[in-house]
């Protein structure tokens, strides 16, 4: 018991609390600015944590990550530009709500869902981390391959509009993912002797280009909005109504199943090494759409998918700590950085971390709770002050966004090539979007392309080219069957409907029940 109190004292002191508040503000800022991502926020934080107490350092990282993932929703709702990749899954819903004048309601619900997701992830981390991590270790390249396939099929599925165009867009993403040094043979592909391309195309500059730059170009390309921008009456685009939290209880009551499902799914996906908050958000959005009674409303300003996915991405952030703490295996790009910091602070990850270092572990758990709870006041302030996006004339706002796009694309790897990639992708995305191609599948294709290919290739090497190996392990076989079901399900239903057509007509009165 005294360890619990000692652990709490590590967090509830002036210095640590101050660090948490500053980290939260930093997280809001980075997350809310299109082009700057959560991973980048944590990477920027690493040198600063060198000078901090261990608990303060970890608390700073937790808070920044949680805050940035939430804050990524803000520009999504106001400007149709997701602030972080984890918000990209539901950006079209959020921005549609924004156009309807429900931007505060949407963000308020987002915020509370994020907090619930984060707390759920934290509870899982505290209670079942060792056994969950043990389970996650059963996932090898075979299982990750199926998981990537599942993610890719969800991309086509959730894309609004024509599935064929969604599929083509996905292929563009997969093509971009082949650029760089092939992990298996070590030979460079599509690098054109540019050394920076050897590392492949980083998806963050691509995302910035596809969403942010695309949006900037759209504004100036259409004559109407360009003249509107010139007049500076952008406030009309976002009529401000409602309070931040006013409608939240009602929405939560209506969608409590989605909150639960998103939190559970997010934590589980986050806990798998190699699949982070981004993929958690995509998959839960797809699941939500599949299970919804009104899938046709998705992508047009429907709150349901947002509830699922925004619970999932914050739960995923916490879930990623499970393998990181128990086995020193990163669950996502943020915990990859965290593990280095943990070692540096003498908190060596391992199943005994909760026993050997009980005081520190309790401090860490307390930090998780505080970080997620502080989301509420600071997130509230952020939503209120996000009004600035609405009142700033577009002709002022858009050039600033463009500047941040360039900074963000450069800063992720300190590479000028990434800026060019960002610009090229922005132009390409603009052309694709103006022919009604959805952009999101391309991003997911780029994110999952490497996971898919590397895991397929290593599995093939391991099994000496035997394709049946993908069905030999129990979890792998289960995931494979699920994929097969998803792909074949529409065919079955079609065949079934055809078969049932005549009997169905005869028994019409019963069928109408």
């Amino acid at each position: 018991m005294s360890e619990l109190i000692d652990g709490m004292l590590l967090v509830f002191n002036l210095q640590t609390m101050l660090v948490i508040v500053v980290a939260a503000l930093f997280g809001v800022f980075v997350g809310a600015i299109p082009g700057l991502s959560a991973t980048m926020a944590v990477a920027l934080l690493v040198p600063v944590t060198f000078y901090m107490e261990p608990t303060a350092a970890i608390a700073a990282i937790i808070t920044t990550a949680a805050m940035a993932i939430f804050a990524g929703d803000i520009p999504g709702a106001y400007l149709n530009i997701p602030g972080t990749p984890a918000s990209a899954a539901y950006v079209s819903d959020a921005s549609a709500l924004g156009r309807m004048g429900r931007v505060r309601e949407c963000l308020g619900t987002n915020l509370i869902c994020s907090v619930i997701g984060g707390l759920a992830g934290t509870l899982v981390l505290i209670m079942v981390a060792p056994s969950l991590a043990e389970f996650a270790l059963n996932f090898s390249s075979f299982e990750y391959f199926w998981l990537a396939v599942l993610g890719l099929s969800s991309a086509v599925f959730i894309a609004p509009g024509s599935p064929v165009k969604g599929f083509l867009s996905l292929m563009v993403g997969l093509l971009l993912a082949t650029v760089g040094l092939d992990m298996v043979t070590g030979s460079p592909r599509f690098t054109f002797d540019v050394p920076d391309l050897m590392g492949g195309i980083n998806f963050i500059p691509v995302m910035i280009g596809c969403f942010a730059l695309n949006e900037v170009m759209k504004l100036y390309a259409s004559r109407e909005s360009a003249s509107a921008a010139a007049k500076g009456d952008s406030a009309e685009r976002h009529p401000q109504t409602g309070t931040v939290f006013g409608k939240v209880p009602g929405n939560l009551r209506k969608h409590w199943r989605n909150v639960t499902r998103g939190s559970v799914l997010g934590t589980l996906i986050g806990a798998l090494p190699g699949a982070g908050a981004d993929i958690a958000a995509w998959i839960s959005y797809a699941v939500s759409k599949k299970r919804s009674k009104t899938p046709e409303a998705y992508g047009k300003g429907h709150l349901e998918g947002i509830v699922d996915a925004s619970s999932a991405n914050n739960a995923g952030i916490c879930g990623a700590w499970v393998p990181a703490l128990v086995f020193g295996i990163p669950g996502d790009s943020i915990t990859a950085i965290v593990i280095g910091v943990l070692y540096m602070k003498g908190m060596n990850p391992g199943p005994t971390i909760f026993i050997d270092n009980a005081e520190m572990a309790y401090g860490l758990f307390t930090a998780f709770f505080v970080a997620n709870l502080i989301l509420i006041p600071i997130g509230y302030l952020a939503i209120r002050s996000a009004h600035i996006f609405a009142v700033t004339p577009a002709k002022v706002l858009m050039p600033i966004i463009l500047a941040f796009c360039i900074v963000g694309a450069f800063a992720i790897n300190n590479s000028l090539t990434d800026v060019w990639i960002m610009l090229a992708c922005g132009v390409a995305a603009y052309l694709l979007a103006s022919s009604d191609f959805p952009i999101a599948p391309a991003i997911l294709g780029l994110v999952l392309g490497n996971i898919l290919e590397n895991n397929f290739m290593t599995s093939m090497i391991k099994s000496n080219g035997n394709l049946l190996a993908f069905f030999e392990r129990p979890i792998s076989a289960g995931l494979g069957a699920l994929v097969a079901l998803i792909v074949l399900f529409p065919l079955f239903t079609k065949a079934w409907l055809k078969y049932r057509k005549r009997p169905a007509l005869q028994s019409a009165p019963q069928g109408g029940r």
Binding site: G328, I329, N348, G350, N413
Partner: protein
Amino acid sequence: MKNDDRNGRPFLLRPFRALLLSALFTSPLALADYPERPIQLIVPWAAGGGSDAAARGIATALEKELGTTVNVVNRPGGGGVVGHTAMASARPDGYTLGFITGELNMLHWQGLTKISREDFTPLAMTNYDYPGVQIAADAPYNDVQSLLAAIKEKPKGTFSASGTGLGGIWHVAFAGLLLDQDIPPDQVRWIPSQGAAPAMVELAAGNLEIVPSSVPEARSMIDAGKAKGLAVVSPERNPAFPNIPTIKETIGSDYSLGEWRGVAGPKGMDPAVVEKLGKALEAAYKSDTYQDFMKKQGFGVEWRNPTEFKTFLAENDEYMGGIIEKIGLKK
């Protein structure tokens, strides 16, 4: 122009570089004042990894010695190609330094870059990590002798190992160990991975037999009882893991090959700046800040001054080239 094609933007940079070069020759460098502004240290690996930690350790100590800020800048990607290229093409004014790693002497043999040790001014070697031989905790081998004997006897491909991509440091180091024991390197199948951490996961999942990474990289899994360390491929035991014997003790081999890391600048640095940095780096290396930091992490420390580092690089380069050729990865 060898320098231009590796930059990939020849048209843009050619006039610039000439301009910079002429500026260098005409303006007298105020050496007495060096350093008068912050120094940038490029790390060719991502933030949070082992190389990043080792670089930040020396950067913090160097900051104290020079009294100026040393900014660590990560330039990951392409198995080290991206970062090493950025360092080599920087201005040799002493304000952009790089944290070069063993891959510098490996990538060019595999035809992945034209950058080699000759494009750098070596300043100080600060760290050397030796590989270990890690296997799953429930594997039937309890010492490295029986493992190597089994590798030799059983049919080709019975054993799989992983820890880096194809031709990465732990692949080459492990293949070198097999060659040293007169075992053809292709007896063990190499499964490429994106680093030691995913390989340790596969080891625990029972999909491969050996992870020849450095011991600190395997530490959490060893502590978790998922893996065991059979030996370290180094002249002496790792003080952080005193229970793991060396291969000298177990199989009497003098073979050792690991990942070295150190500070270097671009080719053509002013000798006076080199001398000043060499001294500052030596003091930084010897400082308690650095030594404690490295000890805590379980990283190996080894010192070489600018001249020694240069000689070492040349020898290491030849040696690496030999092994890479023998395992059939030379291009």
